[in-house]
């Protein structure tokens, strides 16, 4: 097999060396910036089986993990974190069902593992001593939240808890029926100087409800994302390539071949080797292990999945300058979303680029 080539329109095919691609000082600087974080090795943890709201299409309350007996003993969690560190884990994601209901366990995790993120609905503040990124889930405007999440005034309460908090990133999840609501939501978040990133609803296994995307809703989502990137450069952590990867008619697994254990049988290297998804009873099951268990893999467009799966495909993106810049933008975005203290730079590629081996998504 020979090196990849790239056809420049109207010219013969050009073969790009990696050294030529990073010969551009701006590209090289960004490459050096992101590669410093290649040491990150993640696992995820359900902190409790409790939640203070109940959302339609919730991943936690699907499958077997919801029935795990809760281990609320901080000493057990501290022991687990020490063991995790010993086997090479450097980054933790504290997720289901609602980690803010178990702050003492989150505190223990932070004391043992300094890098991580917490996925929260944002209705209950997490103590400032836990210096992880906090991802606050937003699923539309307050009218929609009341209908889908059965909670009143969610955005107002989330902003009241996290405005001005450098840990906070608001994660807006596009479902099929809330696409246009982002405009009002992000305007409010921007006014309160909150950071925002974008996610795409990915159906749990067996879910065929009204939140599931269609080709048309993916297309509308993509156009909306591209408009927002231009409109909110100060607030929005996102890139054109993020829009492509997460709204393509082919899901993340089809585009990049998911490297989480649930879809990857190799235990030799990478996520297949090190990633675990712990339930609230501190057990884990390799066959179910991925960043958002019980997602329908064919419909998976999660921001959390892409952060690992797109990033892992470094080699195939080093085919030409635009594709590599797009990958750098994606990784720069993911690091800003997930790592405390990491600041996103301006995107290097301002237009959509096709994923390697695929076409651009159709409008």
């Amino acid at each position: 097999m020979q090196v990849q080539t790239h056809r420049v329109e109207g010219t013969q095919e050009k073969t790009w060396k990696f050294s030529d691609i990073i010969g551009d000082p701006v590209v090289e600087a960004r490459w050096e910036k992101v590669r410093r974080y290649f040491f990150l090795r993640e696992s995820t943890y359900d902190m409790t089986n409790r939640c203070n709201i109940r959302c339609d299409g919730c991943y936690y309350y699907e499958g077997a993990k919801q029935f795990a007996h809760e281990n609320g003993n901080p000493a057990n969690w501290r022991h687990l974190m020490k063991d995790e560190k010993a086997r090479g884990i450097t980054y933790v994601v504290l997720a289901g069902a609602e980690p803010s209901l178990a702050p003492e366990l989150c505190q223990v995790c932070f004391e043992e593992m300094p890098l991580g993120a917490i996925a929260s609905n944002g209705l209950r503040p997490i103590p400032g001593s836990i210096n992880y990124r906090i991802h606050i889930s937003v699923w539309g405007d307050d009218e929609t939240s009341l209908r889908v999440r059965k909670a009143k005034d969610m955005l107002v309460r989330q902003i009241a808890n996290y405005q001005g908090d450098p840990r906070a990133v608001f994660v807006y999840t596009f479902t099929r029926d809330n696409i246009d609501q982002i405009h009002g939501v992000i305007e409010v978040l921007a006014r309160h100087r909150c950071k925002v990133t974008l996610n795409v609803f990915s159906s749990p296994v067996g879910y065929n409800g009204p939140l599931r995307h269609t080709l048309q809703s993916l297309s509308r989502t993509r156009k909306t994302m591209m408009a927002l990137i231009s409109q909110y450069p100060e607030n929005l952590l996102f890139s054109p390539y993020s829009a492509v990867a997460h709204t393509h008619m082919v899901g993340l697994h089809g585009l990049y071949s998911c490297s989480y254990p649930r879809m990857n049988t190799s235990t030799a290297i990478g996520l297949g080797r090190s990633f675990r998804q712990y339930r609230a009873d501190l057990t884990w099951d390799r066959g179910a292990a991925c960043c958002v268990p019980d997602t329908d893999c064919n419909d998976c467009r999660h921001y959390a999945a892409g952060s690992a799966v797109v990033t892992a495909r470094l080699f195939r993106h080093a085919s030409d300058p635009d594709t590599f810049k797009s990958w750098l933008d994606y990784v720069d975005t993911y690091l800003a979303v997930w790592v405390m203290g990491y600041e996103k730079d301006v995107n290097l590629c301002d237009h959509m680029v096709a994923p390697p081996g695929h076409d651009l998504p159709e409008d």
């Binding site: 097999m1 020979q2 090196v3 990849q4 060396k17 990696f18 050294s19 590669r35 290649f38 040491f39 090795r41 090479g88 490297s259 190799s266 030799a268 290297i269 990478g270 996520l271 080797r273 990033t311 892992a312 495909r313 470094l314 080699f315 195939r316 080093a318």
Partner: protein, 92 residues
């Protein structure tokens, strides 16, 4: 460019690239054990291997398939892989 048929030279060149790219300390290209397990003993992970694969692509004009990374867990195996691919390229 290293002559691709000389496996010992390829081994030393790969060691040089690894030391340089991954900022490895306390080892030289000459003392880097080509049989040492890069993943278990050196602590190299998939992103490191992808970075090395890009530099090797430039140097030898061959692609290391992402699916092959798990098999390439020491420098000798990488060198043999490169040699095989270079030979295939010549025959092709």
């Amino acid at each position: 460019m290293t002559h691709p048929n000389d496996i010992s030279k390829i081994i030393v060149r790969i060691a040089e690239i690894m030391i340089d790219e991954l900022k490895l300390e306390d080892v030289t290209p000459e003392t880097f054990d080509p049989e040492i397990d890069l993943i278990d003993e050196v602590g190299i992970d998939s992103m490191d291997l992808a970075t090395i694969a890009l530099v090797l692509r430039d140097e030898y004009g061959i692609v290391i398939d992402e699916d092959d990374y798990p098999k390439l867990n020491n420098i000798r195996l990488i060198a043999e892989y490169i040699q095989k691919r270079v030979d295939e390229g010549k025959q092709g």
